[in-house]
């Protein structure tokens, strides 16, 4: 596997000047366990994410990747262990949960835009109601981010009128409007047609270039190679292996990782 060509899709130069991993801890997960009924989904997860890190999480289907990142903003509740996000520990205390959620943005596989609201309203809703931003200012912020994801002209349309790729970029803009310090992505491109994957990945790369702390569950290995500073491989609810991308792809340690990589890279 000397010089594997991971993805010819990412052809642009990546500006790494703002991609710095700081010493500050953004997310600290210690000895975290989660069960769905009797099913042990996440086992003894230990993970530290520093500010500015761009982490790609991969692994076979059902390995608990989604569950892991959904625990970080408490869409799923963990049963033991500790999750601290930006200094706030996630407990059943609703105030802490709200605080964490307003700091952490999330992008879903199926976009989950609000179909009864226009693109602009989708983007201004949370700033207005959660952050209490005045409407006018919220709209300016929204337009700023819609320009960033390159669809300001769609602002007054409804989600149903946009293509999948456009919808996903709106979903990213919607999260960014809350000015989150951490972004979570759960397979943001796997519901998209190939030609739309690139536009979404481009948006994510642009975000990484600005120094955003990101955790992405994705099978886009080209993205991992180009942008990530760390790749985490999960299997059966455990973190099996993690490494910086170059080493991860060229020099996988465990058998399970090798098997997974050979399947996903088609070797």
């Amino acid at each position: 596997m000397a010089d594997i060509q991971l993805d010819p899709g990412i052809d642009r130069e990546i500006d790494r000047s703002h991609m710095q991993v700081l010493d500050e801890v953004a997310i600290q997960i210690t000895k975290m366990n989660k069960w769905f009924g009797a099913f042990h989904v996440l086992r003894d997860i230990d993970m530290t994410v520093n500010r500015g890190e761009r982490i790609v999480v991969c692994g076979p289907s059902g390995s608990g990747k989604s569950t892991l990142i959904r625990c970080i903003n408490r869409l799923e509740e963990h049963q033991s262990g500790k999750i601290v996000v930006d200094g706030t520990e996630l407990t059943s205390d609703l105030k802490n949960i709200d605080k964490v959620r307003s700091e952490v943005g999330m992008v879903f596989q199926h976009f989950n835009l609000f179909p009864h609201l226009t693109i602009l309203e989708n983007c201004t809703l949370a700033p207005i109601w959660v952050r209490k931003t005045p409407r006018k200012e919220a709209e300016e912020i929204a337009m700023h981010f819609l320009e960033k994801v390159k669809i300001p002209e769609q602002a007054l349309k409804y989600p149903g009128q946009l293509s999948g790729g456009q919808q996903q970029r709106v979903a990213i803009a919607r999260s960014l409007c809350m000015k989150p310090r951490i972004m979570l992505f759960d397979e943001p491109t796997s519901a998209l047609d190939p030609e739309m994957i690139k536009e979404v990945l481009d948006t994510m790369i642009a975000l990484a270039e600005e120094g955003m702390t990101m955790i992405c569950v994705t099978h886009e290995m080209g993205f991992a190679q180009a942008v990530a500073n760390r790749v985490i491989f999960m299997d059966q609810g455990q973190i099996v292996e993690q490494n910086e991308p170059y080493e991860f792809f060229r020099n996988p340690q465990s058998e399970r990782t090798k098997l997974f990589l050979s399947q996903i890279l088609g070797h």
Binding site: R101, V104, F108, N112, H116, L117, L125, A126, W129, Y158
Partner: protein
């Protein structure tokens, strides 16, 4: 064949023929009839049969309608005018119009129900149509109390002290918010109930003693006709929607106590005929209330009709909630919206939109069911029609009264149905 050119091939036409009018069978009325009425043997037979049925109905009713008598003070006078021919005797509607509309409401106070009706439409404006200025919603919120005051009269302090209950609830909600959604919500529900049961009457009496403001009172037993139908119908509709939504949310709650209360309530109410609830309202409710409280019969009926419709609305709304993908809840959560905001801004607008046909269906049912109050002695239009037919002047008249009552109900129900279609069209934001 790849190098075929129009110039070299003689049989390729080089000018377009002018457009021709399609043959008669493919045009206008004839085409429409072919496609819609005579499209095959079965269709033709059905069309002919339907035409025969329509013709028969017109022949049967037409002459009777055409031969209408509008001015007659009694059935015998009417028969005299008709002189043996068959004809409709609308004189009864004209003679008893006020009664059919307002029952025995005092004549010199007729302006009050009429004003209330006009104000009702004003209040509905901002709720039904988005182009009415939003500020008008304040009037809509105040209308129930204003309407009550106009219709029943008495001291103005009574409706005001009832309205204060909502202010109390809101104040408690704001004050308790820091303690968390659940506690704040429960407190905001309990506080106004306590106010109404314990303090509202005393407050109204005290305020009236200090500052007696009021208009002539009208007792409930003077109400009748469409006034009763509309009061019960519109109050029931206005109250059952919010209550039904709360019940639907309660049924989805993961708090066992709230959930089971809602389930038991919904299943009980749905499992009981409305008429038994109305009899309960008439007979039993009096026993449960503290002695000495006079509890208006119309109010009792409104409560029962509301509870009944709310149980149905709850199930309709639950259907709408179930149709929403989980991702909508998750996206709302992930953005940091709390439970009530997520419900109000994300979940309910979509769930209610899906539920519009079912909700309107329930409303129409509720409105028509108001005629059941005749069985507990209220003189709604049907009850009045019985009374009118029992009078010596109009003994023996049937059709005209029922046709008139039916027509008025139809206008309201058809209006609701049309409005719901308009609303569905207006709210359609997906595929367009």
């Amino acid at each position: 064949m790849s190098d075929t050119h129009a110039q070299t091939v003689a049989y390729v036409r080089d000018t377009m023929l002018p457009e021709q009018i399609p043959p008669v069978t493919e045009r206008g009325v004839v085409k429409w009839m072919r496609e819609n009425l005579f499209n095959g043997v079965l269709s033709t037979i059905l069309t002919v049969l339907s035409l025969l049925a329509v013709a028969w109905a017109v022949m049967a009713i037409g002459p009777w309608l055409l031969n209408s008598v509008w001015n007659a003070g009694s059935l015998s006078e009417c028969r005299q005018i008709l002189d043996g021919t068959s004809g409709a005797c609308w004189g009864v509607i004209k003679d008893r119009f006020h009664q059919l509309m307002l029952g025995f409401y005092p004549r010199h106070l007729y302006w009050r129900p009429i004003t209330t009706l006009i104000l009702l439409f004003v209040a509905l404006g901002p709720i039904l149509y988005p182009w009415v200025p939003r500020k008008m919603l304040w009037f809509s919120a105040a209308f129930p109390f204003l309407g009550y005051f106009l219709l029943w009269g008495g001291s103005i302090w009574f409706p005001i002290s009832v309205a204060l209950g909502f202010v109390v609830g809101y104040a408690v909600l704001v004050l308790m918010r820091p303690t968390g959604t659940l506690i704040a919500t429960s407190a905001a529900i309990i506080a106004p109930v306590v106010w109404w049961l314990v303090a509202a009457g005393t407050f109204a009496g005290w305020a009236h003693a200090v500052l007696p403001l009021g208009i002539e009172g009208v007792r409930s037993d003077r109400f009748g006709g469409f006034l009763i139908s509309l009061v019960i119908g519109f109050t029931g509709i206005g109250l059952s929607l919010p209550l039904g939504i709360l019940l639907a949310l309660g049924r989805q709650s993961n708090m066992v106590l709230i959930k089971s209360v809602c389930v038991v309530f919904i299943e009980f109410i749905r499992g009981v005929p409305l008429i038994t609830l109305l009899f309960t309202a008439q007979l039993l409710l009096g026993y449960f209330l503290p002695p000495g409280t006079t509890f208006d019969l119309i109010l009792r009926v409104v409560i029962m009709v509301t509870l009944f419709a709310a149980a149905y609305i709850a199930e309709v709304v639950r259907g709408g909630l179930a149709a929403l993908p989980r991702g909508q809840y998750e996206a709302a959560d992930a953005l940091g919206l709390d439970y009530w905001r997520a419900q109000r801004l994300i979940i309910m607008p979509q769930a209610l939109k899906i539920s519009i046909p079912g909700i309107v269906n329930t409303f129409i049912g509720l409105f028509k069911d108001t005629t059941l109050v005749v069985f507990i002695g209220l003189l709604d239009p049907v009850g009045l029609s019985n009374a009118i037919r029992a009078s010596s002047d109009w003994q023996g008249i049937y059709w005209e009264l029922f046709i008139f009552i039916g027509a008025v109900f139809f206008i309201f129900c058809f209006g609701m149905s049309r409005y719901s279609m308009y609303l569905e069209r207006r709210l359609r934001t997906d595929h367009r």
